[in-house]
């Protein structure tokens, strides 16, 4: 077993374990912290795949900004725990069964029909040069300039939308 494969398997184990921890934690704060660890693990996968820029964006945007927002809202609402309700008793086993079927089917179809081939080589020294980042920037600003601009409009719309949502009307009691 090569070092790369060992690294991949250990990281995959951490990723799946943290995802399951997120799923089964009773306390929402623990779930959020498990998810932070999961995002950092995925960022390390991006480094293994030779995408350092995406890895850093993942850590700053996901593990930094988004999860801080989540933790902020969890603590603001004080809704770490919900009383256990059991509206549909058969729903949970059914959901787990269907999810396992989904995982097996999607894996089977992806491997048998899509037939991805090739293997990921360990990133060489060229990943760490400025040329790598420059090439990605050329792709972004030449081929995908319109989506880039649309994304900026989308962020503006989200910002305005959030302000409208949480603003109180004048004279309205909270």
């Amino acid at each position: 077993m090569t070092l790369d494969l060992a690294l991949f398997l250990i990281l995959a184990l951490v990723a799946v374990a943290t995802a399951l921890g997120m799923l089964f934690s009773k306390n929402a704060v623990y779930s959020a912290l498990f998810l932070v660890l999961n995002f950092v693990t995925v960022a390390v996968f991006y480094l293994l795949l030779g995408a350092p820029f995406i890895a850093m964006a993942q850590i700053t945007v996901y593990a930094g900004a988004i999860m801080v927002l989540f933790l902020f809202v969890i603590m603001l609402l004080g809704a770490e725990r919900l009383p256990a309700t059991n509206v549909l008793p058969w729903q949970r086993p059914l959901a787990i069964t269907l999810t396992v079927i989904l995982a097996m089917e999607s894996t089977y179809l992806l491997l048998s029909r899509a037939r991805p081939s090739g293997s990921v080589l360990p990133p060489g020294a060229e990943v760490n040069t400025v040329d790598n980042l420059r090439a990605m920037a050329m792709t972004l600003f030449n081929n995908y300039l319109l989506p880039f601009e649309v994304t900026s409009v989308l962020l503006l719309v989200a910002m305005v939308g959030v302000i409208v949502l949480v603003r109180r009307e004048k004279g309205q009691k909270s």
Binding site: M22, A32, L82, S106, S119, V120, T151, L155
Partner: protein, 100 residues
């Protein structure tokens, strides 16, 4: 040297865990986190293919997905805060005002 299938299988497993989170949990915040997990699983598959095909398009797409996810989280959390103000709970079973 890792076959790209390994990354795809891992991505499928993480996606399935996200689906399970949406189906099983009743806390709206955790459902939201599971959606983020699914987005991440898809991103992982895209970057893996991008790395195998030696193209930057996949990485650019992932960059867009991250931006859209940030916008989505801001709006979604604002909605959850509003729902909490109205109902004093973020249990999705309570959000049944339209139920006949």
């Amino acid at each position: 040297m890792i076959p790209v299938e390994y990354y795809i299988v891992l991505s499928a497993i993480l996606f399935a865990i996200g689906v399970a989170g949406v189906l099983i949990r009743r806390n709206a915040l955790i459902i939201f986190m599971s959606i983020e997990l699914m987005l991440n699983a898809a991103n992982l598959a895209v970057v893996a293919f991008s790395s195998v095909l030696k193209t930057f398009s996949g990485q650019v797409f992932v960059f867009f997905v991250i931006a859209v996810a940030a916008a989505e989280v801001a709006v979604g959390l604002a909605l959850i805060v509003e729902i909490f103000k109205a109902k004093h709970s973020i249990d999705v079973d309570q959000m049944s005002s339209l139920k006949g």
